[in-house]
C-alpha cells in the first residue's frame, strides 16, 4: 500500500473526478505499475482518493492511496515519466495500513487569487460575523447556504486569500465561497488552488503529508 501526493493544475484542473480516475488507470498501465484490481463483474484498480476537487479548481496538494507493491521512489519516477506536466506526483511513501482518505479528511487549505477585489475587507468582515450565507446555482436552480461554521480561517495578503475550509462532511466548496466574495467585494476570481488536505479533530488539524516520509524525494 502506498500514499502519494500529486498536483492537478492547468488544463488538468478541468477534468472531472471520473476523467481523473481513468487517466490514473492509463498512467499506471503505461508506467507498468501494477495496482491490485477489485473483484467483481467490473474490476477496477484499487485507488482511494480524498474528497474530489470541484472542476476548475487547481491543486498542488492532492492525495491518493494505491494498493500496489511498488517501491515508493520507483513509483514516483515511473508515474511522472508517463504523466502530463499538469498531473505530477510530488512525494510518495509506503503505508503499513490503508488510510481512508475520503472518510478522514476534515478540512482543505486553498489559495485564491482575485483581481480588483477588496480581499482584506472580505476576510475581516466574514470572520467578525457569526453567520455568512452564500448563494450559488445547483443543478440549474438558485440555492442558498449558511457556511460560517465551515470557514476555519481566512488570511488576506494583497490580492490573495488563504482559506481553510471544511472538506468532506460537512463540505464547503471554495469556488462557491470565492464567487460570493467577488460578487460582494468587487473584482473577479482569477485562480483557485487547493494546497493541502487536513485530518484530525478541529483543534488539531494535520496535513496528510505527515504520512510521507521526510526523506521522500521532492
Amino acid at each position: 500500500m502506498l500514499i502519494f501526493k500529486f498536483t492537478k493544475t492547468g488544463g488538468v484542473a478541468y477534468l472531472s473526478h471520473l476523467d481523473l480516475l481513468r487517466t490514473f488507470t492509463r498512467i499506471f498501465r503505461r508506467a507498468g505499475i501494477r495496482v491490485a484490481f477489485s473483484e467483481g463483474f467490473h474490476p477496477h484498480m484499487k485507488l482511494f482518493f480524498a474528497p474530489p476537487l470541484s472542476v476548475g479548481t487547481e491543486s498542488v496538494g492532492e492525495y491518493c492511496v494505491a494498493d500496489t507493491a511498488e517501491e515508493p521512489r520507483a513509483f514516483l519516477q515511473k508515474f511522472n515519466a508517463c504523466s502530463m506536466p499538469d498531473l505530477q506526483c510530488l512525494a510518495c511513501a509506503a503505508l503499513e495500513k490503508k488510510i481512508n482518505l475520503a472518510a478522514e479528511t476534515r478540512a482543505a487549505v486553498y489559495e485564491a487569487e482575485f483581481s480588483g477585489c477588496r480581499v482584506r475587507e472580505a476576510a475581516e468582515e466574514i470572520l467578525a460575523s457569526a453567520t455568512y450565507e452564500i448563494e450559488f446555482t445547483a443543478k440549474g436552480k438558485p440555492a442558498r447556504k449558511e457556511v460560517r461554521q465551515q470557514i476555519f480561517s481566512l488570511r488576506a495578503e494583497g490580492d490573495r486569500l488563504e482559506m481553510t475550509l471544511a472538506c468532506g462532511e460537512p463540505n464547503l466548496r471554495a469556488d462557491r465561497l470565492c464567487e460570493n466574495i467577488a460578487a460582494s467585494y468587487g473584482g473577479e476570481l482569477t485562480r483557485l488552488t487547493r494546497t493541502d488536505l487536513l485530518f484530525g479533530p478541529p483543534e488539531n488539524l494535520q496535513s496528510f503529508s505527515v504520512f510521507l516520509h521526510p526523506e521522500s524525494p521532492r
Binding site: 488544463g11 478541468y14 471520473l18 492509463r26 498512467i27 498501465r29 476548475g56 502530463m84 476570481l189
Partner: protein, 609 residues
C-alpha cells in the same frame, strides 16, 4: 488560454484545453503551421481515425507543425463572441486566421454550418473568393469531399481519397511555392496536379437555360488518391490519449481499407475501394505498441466489415496473448454470424447483439445486395439467447428502392421471430429487449442507387406510422430518424454548387450543429432555401439515367457504367457475389491496386452488420 471566468461556466471545459498525454511539441520554429479542424465537438472529432492518422503523420515530420481545433458548443460560441475572442487551436492557442494552412475533416453533410461557424469565429472570411492573400488557404478532405460541390465556395482546395500521401504532398507544395515567393493562386495551380486534389476554382460547372447541369470546364483531371502499400502505410501507435470521455475512448487499428460486399446503398463500400489489407503481424505489433504507449484497456479492430479479414485466424492467437499479458480487451465491431461457435466468443462478449438486416424481406435484401438470410439471423439469435443474451439491436432502412408494405411487414416478422426464439431458448431471467432502429434511406453519390429518389415526407410518415403500429409490442422499442434531417442529408449528398448560398443563408439565420437534434432548426433551413429560390425536393427526386451529376468530373475508380449495371441488377432482384469470390471488374482494380482481385477465395463468412 481561455480565461477562467469563461471556462468555469461552460459545459465540459476540458474540450477546449488540450494538454493531453502524447500531445506533440509544437516547438518547431521553421515548420509550416497547419490547423486541422473538425467541425464537431472534441469528443466526436477525437474519435475519428482519419484525423488521428493525419495529425500524427504531419507532426512526426520536422517540416510540419499540425494543431487541432474542434467546433465549440453553443455556450462556448456565445462566450467567445461576447468576449471578442477568436476561435483558437488547442496546442498553442493560435487563432485560425494566423495559421499558414487551415484544413477541415468533413465527415457528414450536417456539419456544413459548423464549418462556417468555425471559419467566422477563427477570423477567416467565409467565401474563398473573398479571402485573397491575407488569409491561409482553407482545404478539406474526408467522405464529403467526394461530392463537395455544395460547399465548394467556402474552400480553396479539396483532397479526395486517402490522405496519408496526398496531404503532405499538398502542404510541401504550399511551402515550396511560398518559399519561392509564389502566391496562393500559384500554389493552387501547382497543387491541382497532385493525385487526389480538386481545386473548385478550376472546375466550372455548365448549366443549360433550365438550370440543369450539362457538363464541366475542367482545367485538370480529378482522381481519388490511393495509398498503394497499405501494410507499410503510416499508422500512429502513440496517439494522443484524451483525458476526458470521448465517443470511442479506446485504441484503434485498421485491418483493411475498402469492402468486398457491394451493398448497393453503401457509399463507403464503393468509395474506399480498391481493397488493401494489413498483415496480421503488422497489426499485432501495432496493437502491442498502442497498449504500451497509451494505457488504453480496449483496442478496436476497425474496418468496414471486420469478419471479412482473411488474416483473422492468424491474428486472434496473437491478440489473445496480448490480452493475457496486458489485461486488455479487443473489440470487433462487425460480428460474424458463426462467431459464437468460433474463436470470437470471449473476445466479443458484449451486453447486446447488433444485426443489420437493413430490409425486412429476402426480396428487398436481394435488391440492395445485403447478403443476410433469415436463417442466418435465426441461427445467430438462437445461439445468442442460449448463451444468456437478452438484448438485441436491429438496424433497418426505410424508403429503399422498390420497397412495399410487405417489406415493412417483414421487419415486424423478424422482430416477432426474435421474440419467439428468445422465449424458446432464453438462458436468463432478464426481460427481452429488442431495439429496432429504422433510418430513412439517403441516395448517395458513387453508389448504384445514386439515381434513386428519396421517399417524400408523406411516404416516410405513412411508413413510420405503419411500423409504429406493427411494433407496438412488449419489450420492443422503435427509433427512427426524423424526416427533415434525412432530407437535408439527401439534398447535400447529391447537391450542386448552387447550395453554397443556402448553407450560408441558414448559418446567418443561426443554424449550427444541425446533426444535433437539440440544435436542428428545420424552419430556418426552409427559409434559407426559399430565399435562394431553391426547394429541397429539387434534389431528392429520381435522376434521369443519362443525367450529368455534379460529381461526374471526378474519377473514384469504380466506373459509372458498373454502378449503372448494379442498379439494373437491383431491379431484377439479382445479387452480386462478394468480390472476394471473384472480381466483377468494378474498375477499382484497373491499376492493380486491389489486393483481392487476383486471389479469388472459395468461400466467405457471413456478416450480419
Amino acid at each position: 488560454m481561455i480565461p477562467k471566468r469563461i471556462l468555469d461556466h461552460v459545459s465540459k471545459p476540458a474540450r477546449y484545453l488540450g494538454g493531453e498525454y502524447h500531445t506533440p511539441s509544437m516547438d518547431k520554429p521553421d515548420a509550416l503551421k497547419v490547423c486541422l479542424c473538425f467541425p464537431d465537438l472534441y469528443e466526436v472529432g477525437m474519435s475519428n481515425l482519419g484525423l488521428r492518422i493525419l495529425y500524427h503523420l504531419l507532426n512526426e515530420r520536422p517540416e510540419f507543425a499540425a494543431e487541432r481545433c474542434f467546433a465549440p458548443w453553443t455556450d462556448m460560441q456565445a462566450a467567445l463572441r461576447e468576449n471578442g475572442l477568436p476561435l483558437c487551436s488547442l496546442e498553442t492557442g493560435r487563432a485560425l486566421k494566423d495559421f499558414e494552412v487551415v484544413g477541415f475533416s468533413v465527415q457528414y453533410e450536417l456539419c456544413y454550418t459548423n464549418i462556417l461557424m468555425m471559419l467566422e469565429l477563427g477570423g477567416i472570411p467565409l467565401l474563398a473568393a473573398e479571402r485573397g492573400e491575407a488569409f491561409p488557404p482553407v482545404i478539406a478532405g474526408g467522405p464529403c469531399a467526394l461530392n463537395c460541390e455544395p460547399v465548394a465556395d467556402f474552400f480553396d482546395l479539396f483532397m479526395i481519397g486517402d490522405g496519408e500521401e496526398a496531404l503532405p504532398a499538398v502542404l510541401s507544395c504550399y511551402r515550396e511555392t511560398k518559399a519561392a515567393g509564389g502566391s496562393k493562386a500559384d500554389f493552387l495551380e501547382r497543387a491541382a496536379g497532385i493525385s487526389g486534389v480538386y481545386v473548385p476554382a478550376f472546375v466550372r460547372p455548365k448549366y443549360d437555360e433550365g438550370g440543369a447541369l450539362t457538363g464541366f470546364d475542367c482545367k485538370f483531371p480529378v482522381e481519388k488518391a490511393v495509398v498503394r502499400d497499405f501494410d507499410k502505410a503510416y499508422f500512429p501507435t502513440d496517439p494522443i490519449v484524451p483525458s476526458m470521455e470521448i465517443v470511442h475512448n479506446r485504441g484503434v487499428v485498421e485491418l483493411f481499407r475498402g469492402c468486398s460486399r457491394g451493398c448497393r446503398f453503401c457509399q463507403a463500400g464503393f468509395t474506399y475501394r480498391p481493397i488493401r489489407e494489413r498483415s496480421p503481424q503488422t497489426l499485432a505489433d501495432q496493437c502491442e505498441k498502442l497498449i504500451r504507449s497509451t494505457g488504453f484497456d480496449e483496442i478496436s479492430l476497425n474496418s468496414l466489415s471486420t469478419g471479412d479479414y482473411p488474416g483473422l485466424k492468424e491474428l486472434l492467437p496473437k491478440l489473445r496473448a496480448l490480452q493475457e499479458k496486458y489485461q486488455v480487451s479487443f473489440a470487433l465491431p462487425s460480428l460474424r454470424a458463426d462467431s459464437f461457435e468460433g474463436e470470437f466468443a470471449d473476445f466479443a462478449r458484449k451486453s447486446s447483439l447488433t444485426f443489420a438486416p437493413e430490409a425486412g424481406t429476402q426480396r428487398l435484401r436481394d435488391v440492395i445486395n445485403k447478403d443476410i438470410t433469415e436463417e442466418d439471423v435465426e441461427r445467430c439469435l438462437t445461439q445468442a439467447f442460449s448463451l444468456g443474451y437478452s438484448t438485441v439491436k436491429l438496424y433497418f432502412m426505410l424508403g429503399l428502392p422498390t420497397e412495399t408494405e410487405e417489406d415493412l411487414r417483414g421487419i415486424a416478422a423478424i422482430v416477432a421471430r426474435a421474440r419467439e426464439l428468445f422465449f424458446k431458448h432464453r438462458a436468463t431471467k432478464k426481460e427481452l429487449k429488442i431495439s429496432v432502429s429504422v433510418s430513412t434511406f439517403v441516395p448517395k453519390p458513387f453508389t448504384p442507387f445514386q439515381w434513386e429518389a428519396q421517399n417524400t415526407r408523406e411516404e416516410v410518415s405513412r411508413k413510420q406510422d405503419l411500423l409504429c403500429d406493427l411494433l407496438r409490442q412488449r419489450g420492443v422499442s422503435l427509433s427512427w430518424s426524423d424526416f427533415e434531417t434525412s432530407q437535408l442529408e439527401a439534398v447535400f449528398a447529391r447537391g450542386d454548387r448552387k447550395l453554397s448560398g443556402v448553407i450560408a443563408a441558414a448559418y446567418r439565420k443561426g443554424c449550427v450543429f444541425d446533426g444535433w437534434s437539440e440544435c436542428f432548426r428545420p424552419g430556418l433551413w426552409a427559409e434559407a432555401f426559399a430565399e435562394c429560390g431553391l426547394r429541397p425536393e429539387d434534389y431528392t427526386g429520381a435522376r434521369a439515367h443519362d443525367e450529368v451529376f455534379p460529381w461526374d468530373f471526378f474519377d473514384s475508380r469504380v466506373k459509372k457504367s458498373y454502378l449503372a449495371g448494379e442498379r439494373d441488377k437491383a431491379f431484377e432482384e439479382k445479387v452480386t457475389r462478394d468480390c472476394r469470390l471473384g472480381c466483377h471488374g468494378c474498375g477499382a482494380s484497373a491499376r492493380g491496386e486491389c489486393e483481392i482481385a487476383g486471389h479469388p477465395r472459395k468461400s466467405v463468412e457471413k456478416s450480419l452488420c
